[in-house]
Amino acid sequence: MEICFDIVPPPMGIAVRNMLLALEYLYDHPLHLFLLAGPDYSQMIVEETNPGLWQRAQKTATRHGDAHGFKTMGEIMTDMNPLTGKLYVEAMHMTRVAREAYSLLGGKYPHPETIVPGGVSTTINLQVLNQVFTRLKQFFDYSRKVVAIWEDITAFFYEADPLYRKTGTRPKTMVDTGVWDDPGTYDASYKNLNTWGNNRWATPGVVIDGELVTTRLQDLNIGLEEFVEHSYYEPWTKMPYPTDPLGSPLSPHHPWNKDTIPKPGKQNWKERYSWSTSPRWDRKVFEAGAYCRVWNTAAAKKLPFTRFLESTGSSLKILVPEAGMAESLLEWKIPQDWNAFERNRGRAYCIPFSAMVAMDNWMMAMDLLKQGKTDVSTKFDLPRKGTQLGVGFWGAGRGFLTHHMEVEDGAIKNYQIDTPSTVNASPRDPMGQPGPYEEAVANTPILEEFDGPDSFKGIDILRTIRSFDPCMPCTTHTMVKDHDLVVTREVNTCGCGVS
């Protein structure tokens, strides 16, 4: 709406919005890493699906015990047990800490009440900011610990069997819209979107086969298409927008040209089989995730002013201040392999990344408060005549998020949302390319130890799907080629659903 109607939030409004988003990620990432995907790597599951691996874990020393306190991998896995493990219970507590901080600024979580076009409606004062800080600070030590745990988990599995490097592998092709605007640059104009986009704390970008090919939001936008040939929708025929507002050509399949025409039907793998569409960029299959955020930012070397982050071109350095533990420099390096383990490891680094962006913006908010610049939103009037186009480039906890809107005479005429799970769960496109989940699962070796079909649990496939952090209780259906057998596994369960 801000782009649609030229509504520019004041600096404090942007700072608060940035903090809100960072806090949302601080809720989301521990939830995923320890409550949803974490159990896949717990003693309860590993002992059942790979007894040899469990034996090994009990005898393998950790590398980062100074940060997380565990001496052996077996100890880590035991504390990752669902419902009872200390890491599980601790993560559940940390989601609450993040939500409390969020609620101080947002009113409540989920469904915050203070986010408006043009800023926020929160009253910002010293008390609120201090209450947020006491909760944010708890993530300093926690993020050190989480990073260390997932570094150890990744190293352990790789060493145990190099084939784990292929779990969930697919090309290193991903897109992220970037998040966290710089108040000095963001002017809510499509005309300048490349400038303010490049000044985000998380840089937008498209990575193709491991190479960052663009960080321009306009490129990201005009390259976007959605296909529905294998989805429960009818194709549309109209093309109201042959170009974007700057005159660059758009595809008939661009969201601004899209019409949503549901066509429910029977599931047929060769025809329509999903309610997700197939978003593509430049006709390439891309994935979305929190890890894309850190990848783009690491590669781009385009951070705004920051006290805590450094992009080197091949890594993102994150300076985490002293809390209970000493100040430390964490560094996420762009990986050689791309797979389920790297997705989770990248997501672990997103915790200190998000925490330090929140700190940068918290300190900015304090400076603004001292200067008396406490306006948090800009008033606006909505035009009642004419047609306007708007687009929101933002990010869910799981990554890439776009909202495309067309307004006509003061009413929304068309509204299209592409979420990260739409991207990742997409079915095959008309070019025959499978979606990210499909591709990753097809590439995953089966490393589970089992005697026969009855004892097969599918843990490797479950780890693959869950590494994408699917935002939906979903079920995977794995077909066996030239066979009628279809293995169905619910993904919303932890691996303990296998027993």
Partner: protein, 190 residues
């Protein structure tokens, strides 16, 4: 038998309760804009218009089981009444109530509900399961539940929500005055 709530005396009668016998939470659970599955929050919205005596909290608990479990860790309720709607094969449009006893639910089922809650599902069963597992439900936990008629997305409820509201209030009145029924289903998930 569906009662039509056209008589406001039910509201006024209930509103005259002077004292609650024990610290009580009445919580609605359900997705809004899902026709009859919105019964819980819809009833809570109406109940918030009533002037309740001290000791009774009326809250919307339609925000995910994990978060609501953490909420319950903070307050020592001695009685909880959940209001919800769930399709369980009963006659559509009818109202039911049962007492919930946190039992020996399998870790697999509880964790499955954790996964669903993390993915955004809002429903009474995940909440009971997760809250029960983490020991935050008092021994006196009740559920007043509608068997839905209309179950598509949208805000057009069937008449069942409105029609049963008076009966919901009557049952609430019995529970709040310590006159809970003795012969009622006790649900234990195992």
């Amino acid at each position: 038998m569906i009662k039509i709530a056209t008589d406001e005396s039910d509201f006024l009668t209930l509103g005259k309760i002077e004292k609650i016998d024990k610290r009580t939470l009445v919580a609605g659970v359900g997705h809004r804009f899902w026709q009859d599955y919105s019964a819980g929050p819809a009833w809570i919205d109406r109940m918030k218009e009533i002037d309740w005596p001290e000791g009774l909290d009326v809250e919307d608990y339609s925000f995910g089981a994990l978060a609501m479990t953490q909420n319950l860790q903070d307050v020592d309720y001695q009685r909880i009444v959940f209001l919800s709607a769930e399709a369980r094969g009963r006659q559509p449009g009818t109202l039911h109530w049962y007492r919930y006893a946190a039992g020996e639910e399998s870790p697999e089922r509880v964790q499955a509900y954790v996964g669903e809650s993390g993915g955004g599902v809002v429903a009474i069963d995940p909440l009971l399961s997760i809250a029960g597992h983490f020991g935050v439900l008092p021994p006196e936990t009740w559920v007043i539940e509608l068997e839905p008629i209309a179950t598509k997305w949208g805000d057009e409820e069937s008449r069942a929500i409105e029609a049963n509201f008076s009966e919901v209030l009557q049952r609430m009145r019995r529970l709040l005055s310590g006159d809970a029924p003795t012969k009622v289903e006790v649900r234990r998930d195992a």
